[in-house]
Each structure stands twice: as C-alpha cells, then as structure tokens.
C-alpha cells in the first residue's frame, strides 16, 4: 500500500501533466490529427486519475471494514444473549401455563 503522501503527489503530477496537455490541445493552428492525438493524451491522463481515485477509495473501504470487524462480532454476541434471555422469559410463561 502506498503512503498518503505518495497519493497526494501522484494526484498533483497527473493534474500538472493534464494542464500541459490541455494547454497544447487548445493551441492555434493544430491539424485535426494532432488535435485528436492530444485529446487522446488528455483522456489517458484522466483515465489514470480515475484509476488512482478508485484505488484510494478501495483502500479507504478496506480500512473501514477491518476496523469494524470486532464490533460486528460483539453485535452477534448481543443478539445471541437476547435469544437466551427470551428463552428464560418463555420458560416463565410455560411455567405459568403449567401451574394454571
């Protein structure tokens, strides 16, 4: 896993590269072919940005999942205890019916 600083730097580099590419594609006097090629270059950079953002998002989700696992276990234990207590209450009810 990359460090947060790496991500910050990488996002910055993509933005800077895109700024250069975008500056070039709006220059005067470009041929249609050159313009399309430059558009493709910008699109490639945007694709890279999306992939990086997705990677950061996946890591955030994984961290959140890892931090919640213990609490999830506890919630299961609480539910199991509730079932047990319900059984006690049920037992009381059965006893009442038996006495009656």
């Amino acid at each position: 896993m990359k460090s947060d600083t790496d991500y910050k730097q990488e996002l910055k580099e993509i933005r800077e590269a895109l700024e250069v590419a975008e500056g070039l594609r709006f220059k005067k006097g470009l041929s249609e072919t050159d313009k399309v090629d430059l558009e493709k270059a910008s699109i490639a950079l945007r694709k890279k940005e999306r992939a990086l953002v997705e990677k950061i998002g996946s890591e955030v989700a994984a961290q959140i999942k890892a931090s919640s696992e213990n609490l999830q276990e506890l919630a299961k234990k609480v539910r199991a205890r509730t079932t047990k207590l319900s059984k006690t209450a049920k037992w009381a009810e059965t006893l009442r019916k038996f006495i009656c």
């Binding site: 699109i43 950061i56 205890r81």
Partner: protein
C-alpha cells in the same frame, strides 16, 4: 426506553453518513468530468469519455457505500442493544405471574361460594403470592438482562471508540485531504478546458452561447466542492460526539444497577444520532447527479 427505540429507528439514515460524503465527492467528480468531455471535438472520443465517467461514477458510488460499513455495524450493535434492553421481556414475565395470582384468588372465591367445606379460605393470598412470584421473576430476568447489557456495553465501548477513532483517522488522512484538494483544483481545470473549447483569449472560436448559465452551474459546483472540507469536519465531530455519548452510557451502567435508569444517557445518544442525520440531509439535498 422510548429513547432507545427512537435512536434505533434512525439507524437506517445513520448508515449513510461516511458513504454520503464519499458519494458527494464521486458525483462532483462526474459533474466536472462532463466539462472535460464537452471540450472534446472528436465525437467518438467524447462519447467514450462520457461512458468512462459513468463507469467511474458507478464504481465510486459502490466504494462509497462500502465506507458505510462501520456505520452499519454501529447501527446493528445499537439495534441488538435496544432489543436486549427492551423492558417488555421482564415486564411480561412479571405481569403473567401477577395475573396468575389473581386467577388463584378467583379460584378461592369459587371454592368458598361452593360451601363444600366449613373452613373459609382467606382471600388475597393468591394475589399476594402471584405478586411476589411476579416481582421475583421480573427481578430475575431484569437482573440477568442488566448483567448482560453491562458486560456488552463495557466491551462495546472499547469497540465503538475504536470504530469511531478509525473512521475519524481515515477521514482526516492525507489521502482523503488529497482527494478533496484534487476535486477543488480539477473542477477549475476541467471548466477551463470547457471554456477554451468554445473560445478564449488565444482562440478564435466563438464564446459559448450559454455562458451565463455555464458560469452559474460552475458556481454551484464550486460551492459544493468548497463544502467538502466543512462536511468532513461535521461528520468527524458528530462521530466523536456519538462515541462520547456511548461512553457515557457505559459509565452510567458501571455506576447504576437498573436497566431502566438510563433514559437521559440514551436520549443524549439519540441527540447525537440526530445531529448526524441532519448532516446527511445537508449533503444530499442539492444532488442533481
């Protein structure tokens, strides 16, 4: 116990908070992406880029929903706690035995009315016995319930604090800060590309015919982007308050003995949950995308 029921009912909205923040970022990313796609001159490339924006949005929203996991688990824990803390369990048991006492008394009354014996059976014994058994069973279940909750809340407090601390760390992390920063800068960059595709100082292309509306839309997006930092701060402080409210419940449980004495603490917890709810309303109310 009303407070417990109320805060449990609100768990569905609560489950969207961290995800809502990441989803807002994803939707802003898609919206600014459209400025870039609109700046492309090649029709095939333009449609390809729009499709890529859509695919990216779908993935980002899915990831944003995964960010809700800790909140969902907090919600499940709270629901489980509420069911366990429910008064009905011990109250019902007590009520049943008390009604049994009344039945015994009516039997005594019927026995006496039959006049089959010289002795008259005294009234009220069954009622008293039923009441005693009722209270005993109530006390028994209530005590078991209190003991169980006490242990769970104690253990839960460490875990709730850990989940909240981890979430706060993630939200505060330089990676998330970099994402916010990236949205701020890239929105401007993509809008410039869009404007340049129509006309600018170094271009002889005409200006966009809808320049006023374009600028208005850009302004609305800029406002949303600028709010990201503020929203993140709001979620962080709300999460911290939530952990604090749970801590108070845990502390009170250690001090007090009865399960039904936590009204105020549970109400405070509910207040924090509501504060988080209003947070998500702020995030989602302006979503055109």
């Amino acid at each position: 116990m009303k407070a417990v029921e109320s805060f449990t009912a609100s768990s569905d909205s609560l489950s969207r908070f961290p995800g809502g923040f990441f989803e807002e970022m994803a939707r802003l990313r898609a919206a600014r992406g459209l400025y870039f796609s609109a700046s492309l001159s090649d029709a095939t490339l333009r449609v390809g880029e729009i499709n890529a924006i859509y695919a990216g949005l779908v993935k980002d929203v899915q990831l944003a929903n995964k960010a809700n996991l800790s909140w969902e688990i907090l919600g499940k824990y709270r629901s489980a706690l509420k069911v366990l803390a429910g008064a009905a369990r011990w109250q019902d048991a007590g009520r049943e035995f008390r009604s049994l006492g009344r039945s015994v008394d009516s039997l005594v009354k019927r026995f006496n009315s039959l006049e089959i014996a010289n002795a008259i059976l005294p009234m009220g014994i069954g009622k008293a016995a039923g009441r005693l058994v009722g209270y005993s069973s109530e006390l028994l279940i209530k005590r078991a319930q209190t003991r169980a909750i006490k242990n769970f809340v104690k253990e839960g407090d460490t875990l709730v604090s850990a989940v909240v601390a981890s979430l706060v760390d993630i939200l505060k992390s330089p990676a998330v800060t970099a994402l916010i920063e990236n949205e701020k800068r890239a929105l401007e960059q993509n809008y410039i590309s869009y404007l340049k595709s129509f006309g600018s100082a170094d271009s002889n292309l005409p200006k966009s015919p809808s320049a006023y509306n374009d600028d208005k839309d850009y302004l609305a997006l800029k406002e949303r982007v600028e709010k990201l930092t503020y929203l993140r701060g709001g979620i962080i402080s709300a999460a911290n308050r939530l952990a604090k409210a749970h801590k108070k419940i845990a502390e009170e449980f250690t001090k007090r003995k009865k399960v039904d004495e936590l009204y105020q603490e549970l109400q405070d917890f509910e207040k924090e949950v509501k504060a988080l709810q209003s947070g998500i309303t702020t995030i989602t109310k302006d979503w055109p995308y």
